[in-house]
């Protein structure tokens, strides 16, 4: 299996989810309001979405905004930490790779 979001009806914390949709490289993905962009990506079964300098796949590592492994482009803004940014309905997410001249 892969990473997933606990089903709301099976979650002992008693959630009342509001669905949202983002697109990732043009493909629509269903998420829940309050999830981070990384949470939406992981829950869709993706473990990696960024490429390191050699092209090696990267996804979430630290989960709290420290490692910068999870960077994505959101609505045209590059280098957004997916684990820190809340997903908003309609967000246009594109994946990115490390490019020469990127923020060091």
């Amino acid at each position: 299996m892969s990473p997933r979001l606990l089903r709301a009806d099976a979650d002992p914390v008693g959630r009342h989810d509001t669905p949202l949709t983002v697109t990732v490289n043009g493909e629509p993905l269903a998420g829940v309001a309050g999830q981070t962009v990384a949470g939406v990506l992981l829950a869709s079964g993706r473990r990696s979405w960024r490429a390191g300098p050699s092209g090696a796949p990267r996804g979430v590592f630290c989960g709290i905004g420290v490692c910068f492994d999870c960077l994505v482009t959101v609505n045209g803004e590059r280098d957004v930490r997916a684990c820190r940014r809340r997903a908003a309905d309609g967000d246009v997410v594109t994946t990115q790779s490390r490019e020469p001249g990127d923020a060091r």
Partner: protein, 483 residues
Amino acid sequence: MTARTRRHVAVVGAGPAGLAAAAAALRAGARVTLVDAAERPGGQYHRMLPEQYRAARPERLHHGWAAFDRLRRHVLGHPRCAWWAESSVWSLERPGPGDETAPRVHVVRGPADGAGRERLVLDPDALVLAPGAHDRVLPFPGWDLPGVFTAGAAQALAKGERVVIGDRVVVAGAGPFLLPVAASLLEAGSTVLEVLEANPAATVLRGWGRRPWELASQAGKAGELAEYTALLARHRVPYRTGRAVIEARGDGRVEEVVTARLRADWSVVSGTERIVAVDAVCVGHGFTPQLELPLAAGCALREGFVQVDGDQRTTAPAVLAAGEITGIAGAPAARVEGLVAGWAAGGGDAAAPEARAARRRRDRARAFAARLAAAHPIGDGWPGWLRPETVVCRCEETTYGALCRAADAPASAAARAVKLGTRAGLGPCQARICGPSVAELLARRSPPPDLAAGGHRPATPHHRPVAQPIRLGELARPPKENL
């Protein structure tokens, strides 16, 4: 007194330490601005579910929820407290030499890493820093594969947004934090195959078993740990000491890990390797304090943590520190340190009975921290897990082999030259992840004279002029001042 003439305390971080500091400063009569990058207070320990989940029973995921809930409502609703959520402190500006005022606090407010965030500036009378810590993870072959998470990431995802990282998970590393992580994964319905503590049982027991009266004073923490242990037993999850994940393997994602028995110094006992099929693994070897803000404020360090006096004052004028940046001791300790710091920052009377009581509790908490460190040290033998092609700096993909070659070449052996030559630590994370490991590896290859005798090199100070990313467009905009 009007709001403007009252003493103004800025608190950075609304975790256990910062929230307690805000409460104590308010009690001392000050006006408080509480700043946190997250949307909700609680920090790592009381990481709250997003408001949008509209959870009916959030307390299910927390210890000490009732007290936390009371405290946060009290602080955030206090007429003298301004709560700044989604606000990152990206820089601290020191006053000129001889000037004893607190540094200026530069903040950006808005969605994480957004382009159009608002810039704000605070000029408080006193500044309390409580930014916490992040996981330390030692490198090992395959640790850069997707599906390898820090223990904190697994915890933050499960507790903070109900995402489970996998269904066959190994939790490994060192320290008591592995237990709540395993517990959260189990609670969320994942299968935890085993929890591996790298230190041998003898070291762990010696650390925990010595001076039992100290443990009694941290009863909350001990009770919590006993609960996790019982949960693990109920789910038949083995807790193995003296064993570690020494390699992760897979094609584009982790599919299996190699575990092995370790000696007390964490060198591998060959022939004890086992292969375990997993879909995720989480690893943590203790915590690294987030030192960029204290260093920007000019605070001196002691043994890798912010140096504080009996009132939690740092060596920088009008700057106090509390929580994990002053030593890794867990949430109860962070809370009492926050109380002491907030009271002093707010101008409270040091001789007041409650201040004395808080300082005594803080001293006991520190003793507990020392014991934790003794029970779960990092062994010297971990570089033995590395191979020449193992990535050490994840950002720049600098390998162990490249680091060794640079360190051994006489022309480039100086730490700075190794960095420039190999780019280790110069990527987007600015060495937050690999910094301590690279420093340790280099110190071993070419020990400076004072360390040649086998002493430990303290983690390299993380001087980062920009503590949190800010975009050029935001920088160009004039900030709002004097709030």
